[in-house]
Symmetry: C2
Subunit: 248 residues, 2 copies
């Protein structure tokens, strides 16, 4: 079937306009309608005047995707924005699944800088070697599976990047996660928290794994737990890849 209109799923990166890829910027400039979660729309709005913006609140992800498809099916070039990358705990999966109902709409996914990368750069180089990305949100995933993945990652000495470390309802989840990681990782393991990446109030703090278990984070934080070789170098978190560095 001839595809009549286009829906772009665009990862906007951590939040600032500068952290978007040129492709993401040009894609949104091409769109007539931009759809997204209110917080992310507010981040990009000023840079794309003359666009029609449509938002839905949190927890209405499927409705948001349908809204985007309806706009595209109606003949408007439409962009659905996600923070970070649309393919990492973002909307590209749902969009592709719903897409079967809208054969006249062609979907294009535009990747962006996810928090593992932007937070990693802020902290130093915590993910230079093999790593696992795990979300602590149990809204759609049983805690038993999250726990199993934390334990498996720790058992094989992965660095671990934790998304959604806690929320109001899940105040003790990061502590529970640290206790699981602690079965295999030393209490001295170098850890870091990146917060408000690319936005006002951006910052970072380093902890040991035992200290991290006592930290309260929020939904704008990304947590990094090192592997057994991770160290602090001049105030940065570095997981060596293994290069031999001769002193000069």
């Amino acid at each position: 079937m001839l595809k009549l209109s286009k829906l772009y799923v665009v990862g906007i990166g951590p939040g600032s306009y500068e952290e978007m890829t040129l492709r993401a910027i040009r894609t949104l400039e091409r769109c007539q309608v931009i759809v997204g979660y209110t917080v992310y729309v507010d981040l990009v709005k000023e840079h794309f005047p003359d666009k029609e913006f449509l938002t839905t609140p949190m927890r209405q992800e499927v409705e948001r995707c349908r809204l985007a498809f309806e706009q595209a099916a109606g003949g408007k070039e439409t962009g659905m924005i996600c923070s970070g990358d649309a393919g990492v705990y973002g909307m590209s999966g749902v969009i592709l699944e719903i897409g079967a109902e809208y054969p006249q709409v062609s979907v294009e996914i535009v990747p962006g800088v996810t928090a593992a990368l932007s937070g990693g750069a802020l902290l130093g180089a915590p993910l230079m070697h093999d790593f696992a990305v795990i979300s602590l949100s149990d809204l759609m995933t049983p805690w038993e599976l999250i726990a199993k993945r934390l334990e498996a990652a720790a058992s094989a000495d992965f660095s671990v990047c934790i998304y959604n470390p806690s929320s109001k309802k899940r105040g003790d989840y990061l502590k529970k996660a640290c206790e699981i990681l602690r079965k295999y990782k030393s209490g001295d393991t170098v850890c870091g928290v990146a917060f408000n990446i690319g936005r006002q109030g951006e910052g970072r703090t380093f902890y040991t794994l035992d200290e991290l278990a006592q930290v309260r984070t929020d939904m704008f934080s990304t947590v990094f737990v090192g592997n057994s070789a991770t160290k602090l170098v001049n105030g940065n978190m570095v997981t060596p890849r293994g290069y031999v560095i001769d002193k000069k």
Copy 2:
């Protein structure tokens, strides 16, 4: 100590100018000297005329980093470019480690779109849920540790993104990796290979895990192995996050 000059470590994304972040572009525009591996310098060169480009061949990563520091220490704003993200099997770790020898040089890391994200977008949405990133290169990592990580990731039903799936010397490594993953993952697990992402000859192919074991890839390929829920939807690889999608 007062920092006198600046060294930027810049992830340029998969290869095309459009996939760079605006911050990466503006950073390189600000630099006098751009240092990198020959292949990556050739990718960006035309977009940054009037710059001094310095290259070193593969396997001379530490020398390349020192070269960059010497330029910066000499008073030139210097950019060290890496493909994808500088913090994922890139140069930011070595740069931060060597940095201790150059206290007058201040280091800034500019994140970019790594192949897990750009390749993921090309294939669909393979990394929508928890995932592990593993390199099969055993140049600096014992194969036993790589094998252990593959097995741990498979045992906890992670999606797995494989970097450096093979090279001339390591022709059978992807096969060996698939055999390890096969201990826990079904032979029907949906897999995909993204190749030449963002460059001429860009493409994708889907396989089952059993088929993937027979595939010969090259160093410009990134491999994605789904979790137990990953499926092909309209010719795209999708790992559902768990949203309930009511049919209209």
